[in-house]
């Protein structure tokens, strides 16, 4: 392919697109957050409600992400390694959270687990509160971030095939050893990427969580809800600082991915 004269304009177009949609708005948020000095920003993020929102966001991610990691790897293994009637249905079901609006997912959770929902009376008699409480927020976050691990891990499992696992079996490895020593190292990259996407989605989820949490400041407000709440109550300083915190969290997750990705990946490279 010849070096076309379109190369330079193309680069500018891509960079310009990125600048308009991502770089410019995000840096404006950073600028606004620290506009009145670090002290003001620090005060805003250490307010009781902000700290609680940070803590709750972290807690939800700490529960929902491991849940979806285990579930995602499990479903991927089932879909990749077993043939059974209805496999296509399971495959399609996993994608539903991608296809329908998070608001609908939140609403559906209320219909099932709310006070007047299907399990409502049972949950009431056992004094379990799901909706407008932390369990509901975790469920909503897990629901919307369900597909990411499966969609990253399943193709890798299909690509590597079963021969390495069979070879390990003939060498004396039991199912758990095969998984830990053969399967897991092979899907490591896809899994890391899937977990990163899941985490990012859980941190940033708004719609589904807004419906199920009731958004009570200091109680059921995650960081995204805190930002929305701050904007509503014209507390822009808190909104900007909350947004920066959210960005930084995402940045940390992305950095961790890049670091794990760079480590120990020399076996992927072909040497001529």
């Amino acid at each position: 392919m010849k070096r076309s004269r379109w190369r330079l304009p193309l680069r500018f177009a891509v960079l310009g697109y990125l600048a308009l949609l991502v770089i410019l708005p995000v840096s404006t948020v950073f600028y606004r957050a620290f506009q009145h000095g670090l002290g003001t920003a620090w005060d805003a993020i250490t307010s009781t409600d902000a700290l609680h929102a940070l803590w709750l966001t972290f807690l939800v991610a700490a529960i929902a992400v491991p849940l979806n990691t285990v579930f995602g790897v499990g479903v991927s293994l089932i879909l990749a390694r077993h043939r059974f009637p209805g496999a296509w249905l399971l495959d399609a079901l996993v994608d539903i959270p991608l296809a329908i609006s998070p608001v609908v997912i939140g609403l559906a959770l209320i219909l099932v687990y709310g006070h007047t929902g299907w399990f409502g009376s049972w949950l009431n008699t056992h004094h379990i509160t799901v909706i407008y409480a932390v369990p509901g927020i975790v469920m909503a976050s897990a629901a919307v971030s369900l597909p990411y691990v499966v969609r990253e891990v399943l193709p890798v499992l299909q690509e590597i095939g079963t021969e390495q696992e069979q070879a390990a079996r003939t060498l004396g490895a039991g199912p758990f050893t095969v998984f830990r020593r053969i399967t897991l190292p092979n899907i490591r990259r896809g899994l890391a990427y899937g977990v990163t996407l899941t985490t990012a989605r859980v941190l940033g989820e708004f719609g589904a969580v807004a419906i199920v949490s009731g958004a009570v400041a200091g109680k059921t407000e995650t960081l995204t809800l805190f930002i929305a709440d701050s904007i509503d109550s014209l507390d822009t300083q808190s909104a900007y600082v909350g947004a920066v915190a959210l960005c930084l969290a995402a940045l940390i997750v992305l950095t961790l991915l890049t670091v794990t990705d760079r480590k120990r990946d020399d076996w992927h490279k072909e040497v001529a």
Binding site: Q166, A167, R169, T170, L171, G172, A173, T177
Partner: protein
């Protein structure tokens, strides 16, 4: 007997992979399961290894009924056609795998792996990853990995199938030498009859899920049990409705007169020079065709060319491949 499979049958959906196959493999022998692709020979190998389960029949290894035992408890070394290297492990760790999961002492593992690396000639590549090896090197690594667990039997699925011709020939010799050193009972699957005859002591011919014949390469070449074995094991052509090896035929000039009573008249339709060997296609008077394999010398002596009238006859009336059961 090292391996004894009895009345093994296996279906995949509607397709019959194996139909009542029984086979015994002697301790210390090198047996080739030979047959066309899709004939069921790989399935039989996988059933012996415990990677597939038979619908019926039993598998005994060293006298022990292992029909229902999982692969990991059978003590078989299995080499896959595409070697199935553990891509995330170095050559050394690949070979050490079976010993590591048995939690053998580190020093013992290292000593054993060093020995195997030496045996397969990969000592200088021990710290490489499989992606950095050639096909032949991967093959040898897979063999060393299977041998590390000191298997009772070694099973090789199309061991040379994925290699180019030159490496293939080298590895064949190497495998034969290795077997002569180690005497591990070995079963290999191949669809290449030349490869099977060169490497193996015994052949088992499998076609369409059935075991056609078992024996030594020379014996089966000379005494094929049926038409399939005759045509599969080597070149074959038909003269007067009977199967015969084309190198067991001779051509006489027509003008020299009918050489034997059984000689058949024909016309040369094509002469193909293949170096030492010359292939002569003859259109027989009765409308059939046959071909004769001649040495370059005898072809030149006869001065054969297309259109020439000739007699075709058997070189030796007592040629064993003329057994009456082969009459078509």
């Amino acid at each position: 007997m090292s391996i004894r499979v009895t009345s093994i049958s296996k279906r995949f959906g509607d397709a019959v992979a194996l139909d009542d196959v029984s086979l015994e493999v002697e301790s210390g022998s090198l047996t080739a399961l030979l047959g066309p692709s899709g004939g069921g020979k790989s399935t039989l190998l996988r059933i012996i290894a415990g990677l597939d389960r038979p619908d019926s029949g039993t598998v005994h290894i060293e006298g022990e009924d292992l029909t229902d035992a999982p692969a990991r408890q059978r003590g078989v070394g299995f080499c896959f056609q595409h070697y199935a290297p553990f891509r995330h492990l170095t050559v050394r760790r690949n070979i050490a795998f079976g010993l590591e999961i048995r939690h053998r002492p580190k020093a013992e593992v290292k000593a054993r792996v060093d020995e195997l690396l030496e045996l397969v000639g990969l000592a200088h590549l021990a710290e490489r990853y499989p992606s950095q090896l050639s096909g032949g090197q991967r093959q040898r690594m897979a063999l060393a990995r299977a041998l590390a667990i000191e298997p009772k039997v070694l099973l090789l699925d199309e061991p040379f199938g994925a290699l180019d011709a030159q490496v293939r020939t080298q590895l064949r010799r190497w495998l034969r030498d290795l077997h002569d050193t180690l005497h591990v009972t070995t079963v290999l699957v191949t669809h290449d009859q030349e490869e099977a005859m060169e490497v193996a002591d015994r052949l088992a011919i499998i076609n369409q899920g059935r075991l056609e014949q078992v024996g030594t390469p020379a014996d089966m070449y000379d005494h094929p049990a049926n038409e399939f074995v005759m045509t599969f094991l080597g070149p074959a052509t038909r003269l007067d409705g009977e199967w015969v090896r084309p190198h067991d035929l001779v051509v006489h000039r027509f003008e020299d007169g009918k050489p034997t009573t059984a000689a058949v008249e024909g016309t040369v339709s094509r002469v193909t020079h293949l170096g030492f060997e010359v292939k002569v296609d003859v259109e027989l008077a009765k409308g059939d065709e046959c071909w004769v394999q001649l040495s370059r010398g005898s072809a030149l002596e006869l001065g054969l060319e297309a259109g020439q009238r000739v007699w075709v006859a058997r070189a030796d009336a007592s040629t064993p491949s003329r057994s009456p059961m082969l009459s078509a």
